[in-house]
């Protein structure tokens, strides 16, 4: 204990060393060493350990360790290690720094003992992750990154407002059970603030808008950390909240319908991410020990199989530069290993027996049955079938089989294959031998996934759903893959921002016209009555200098340029408000 540091420290400090390592091998070693070092540090922290520093009248608990946070800590480290192996070939230091910064912030969130510390890491999480999007360095990534940042800044402010009210009301900053209380604004604000990071319906488009625009390697980290740390906070502060059951069911069901018709496979997987987090949110909402264990174990498994799926499609994208169903197909020929890893990920997420989701998702569905929630049970079973459709079949089928695209790319590089191999190993290990996974759960696990009836039921469900796919495909009824944009809730932001821009530039143009009439035409000619030439020349010069080419530039950027400073200003006001509330 005395030799340990808070779990986030090694990642955050290590990030800033990266640019100083000029030697390729030294840098690679550093990227792999840090997650291992940080993990060793974590192992030495036992439940009950904590670090705290005084701040104003409060004690900031930088780190508080218990069983719940430890599970997330372990799997975040595993995901980080896999992610860095996968990204070893990347020469862009900024990406590695952002990944460390992002990973460290996520560890900060899950080990934070008080809400103020949690909030600070919550914001750093956004900062780190947005660079994993921007470093893709495309125009689409730039715009998506701005929208992503905007969502999270708004979410962060809602969370902060909730935390301030909560602290004011209860006098306690501890990250502990809050629960949704009728008429208690603080509990609702925190709930919604966390919900934005958890990608609840309508609050979700940052996932499906921005993740597919991020770098090939960055998306591995993104898919693992932000939503899962939000799931952690819900498990900590809102277990057993009935509203969560229906939010979760809605996530599980709506996202997959979009996934069916989406063309970009990385976007399909982003919808799939929402669908899977829906199962977890549902489990937390049910709130029994079985359900919470199910939600947490499913979070662990989801991090691994979702990383595996994103990695396999990433490898395809790395070799071919394409990620759309309409442009891919038949790649099993020259990328057989990647294809097999993709199928392992697909089998794991679908919940085939011996694969990971079989032992975790079923706990949540069983908990629904235990509680007699029949409608919920049917919705979750429906969603399970949908998982098979979009992640289990669609992703491997359209990338590696289907029609022959004629592409003959080389197999993925060794570091990508190694990373996929590790993830695939854990997908099968957790599924076939769930004991170690169960032993990490916050509550003792009294659940037996491998009964004859369960194995039989799940296998039949998946096999006959696959049969439906085969028949639909052969009869031509399966919806054709199309190059298209599917409208989603981000429409309001993307088109709304344009409306704001139109209004703002409209007003600016109006003011400019009045100004021009007044200062360029009227005043000079008026003044020139007194002194003819010099003033009108000056006015012409002013007119030319002030001539706005700016408006064109604003139109080109598909973002809200004025929004960010405004929000920073609001953030500053919040900090001031906090100061006065705490002091007052």
């Amino acid at each position: 204990m005395s030799n340990s540091v808070p779990p986030f420290a090694i990642f955050l400090a290590g990030a800033f060393v990266v640019p100083f390592l000029r030697n390729r091998i030294l840098k690679s070693a550093w990227l792999l060493l840090l997650p291992v070092l940080s993990f060793v540090n974590l192992v030495h922290l036992s439940p009950g350990a904590s670090f705290s520093v005084p701040f104003l009248d409060y004690e900031l608990v930088l780190c508080q360790v218990d069983r719940l946070s430890l599970v997330f800590g372990y799997v975040f480290h595993l995901a980080a290690l896999i992610g860095f192996i996968y990204a070893l070939h990347v020469k862009d230091d900024l990406q590695h720094m952002a990944a460390f910064f992002y990973g460290g912030s996520a560890l900060g969130v899950i080990f934070a003992g008080d809400f103020l510390t949690l909030f600070v890491f919550w914001e750093l999480l956004t900062l780190g992750s947005v660079f994993l999007i921007w470093t893709n360095r495309t125009r689409a990534a730039l715009g998506a990154g701005f929208r992503y940042a905007l969502y999270h800044i708004i979410g962060g402010l809602v969370l902060l407002a909730g935390i301030l009210l909560h602290v004011k009301q209860t006098g306690s900053t501890a990250v502990a059970f809050i629960g949704l209380q009728e008429g208690n604004l603080a509990s609702w604000l925190i709930f919604i603030g966390v919900g934005i990071n958890c990608a609840w319906p309508i609050l979700h488009p940052w996932v499906t808008d921005a993740y597919p625009e991020s770098t090939i390697t960055g998306i591995i980290f993104l898919s693992a950390l932000t939503t899962k740390s939000a799931v952690y906070v819900l498990a900590r502060a809102y277990p057993g909240t009935p509203l969560l059951i229906w939010i979760g069911a809605a996530m599980a069901c709506f996202a997959m319908v979009y996934a069916v018709i989406e063309n970009d496979l990385r976007r399909v997987l982003s919808y799939s991410l929402i669908n899977q987090v829906g199962f977890m949110v549902c489990g937390i909402g049910i709130g029994t020990e079985l359900a919470i264990n199910g939600a947490i174990s499913h979070a662990v498994n989801d991090i691994l199989f979702k990383a595996l799926l994103f990695m396999s499609i990433g490898a395809v994208m790395y070799r071919t530069g394409k990620s759309k169903c309409t442009e891919l197909g038949g790649l099993y020929r020259t990328m057989p290993a990647t294809c097999i890893f993709c199928i392992i990920g697909a089998a794991s997420i679908s919940g085939f027996p011996l694969f990971s989701a079989f032992v975790s998702k079923s706990m949540i569905i069983s908990a629904a049955a235990h509680g007699g929630m029949i409608l919920l049970w049917f919705l979750l079973m429906f969603a399970s079938t949908g998982v098979l459709e979009h992640a289990g079949i669609k992703v491997p089928f359209f990338a590696f089989f289907s029609h022959d695209s004629g592409l003959r790319p080389r197999e993925a590089p060794w570091n990508m294959l190694t990373a996929m191999g590790i993830a695939a190993f854990f997908c099968i290990f957790n599924g076939a031998f769930p004991g170690p996974l169960y032993s990490l759960m916050p509550f003792p696990v009294d659940y037996q996934p491998y009964t004859a009836a369960h194995v039989m039921g799940q296998t039949l469900l998946l096999l006959f759903a696959s049969l439906a796919f085969v028949l639909l495909l052969m009869s031509g009824l399966y919806p054709a893959e199309m190059r298209a944009v599917n409208l989603d809730a981000d429409w309001f932001f993307r088109k709304g921002s344009r409306l704001v821009l139109t209004v703002v530039t409209g007003i600016a143009a109006f003011v400019a016209r009045i100004g021009e009439a007044l200062f360029i035409r009227f005043l000079p000619s008026f003044l020139s009555n007194f002194s003819r030439r010099p003033v009108s020349r000056m006015a012409e010069a002013v007119g030319r200098a002030g001539n706005p080419g700016n408006q064109d530039r604003l139109d080109q950027l598909n973002v809200i340029p004025s929004g960010v400073p405004v929000i920073l200003a609001v953030a500053f006001l919040y900090v001031l408000a906090f100061y006065f509330i705490v002091k007052g």
Binding site: A453, L460, L461, V470
Partner: protein
């Protein structure tokens, strides 16, 4: 000569599907002899999960194809 891969041969594709259909049949028959202890009554009906899986899958695909897609599909450069 152009290199031939696993599923370029129609024979292999046929083998794959034969295997798949046999698997379906075996599991479907075995289901009738499996002891059930489901908490919900329909879990114990024979072949319930097979029918549910098939119907749910078709329902989802048709829902996406005939309801959602016509509502939300736009040209690929819609946001450009």
């Amino acid at each position: 000569m152009k290199k031939e891969y696993l599923f370029d041969k129609p024979k292999n594709v046929k083998r794959f599907f034969t295997l798949f259909y046999i698997l379906l049949a075996v599991f479907l028959i075995a289901d009738f002899f499996t002891a059930k202890h489901g908490e919900l009554p329909w879990e114990n009906w024979p072949a319930f999960y097979a029918v549910f899986g098939f119907v749910a899958f078709v329902f989802l695909v048709f829902g996406a194809k005939y309801i959602l897609r016509p509502l939300v599909k736009r040209r690929e450069d819609y946001y450009e």
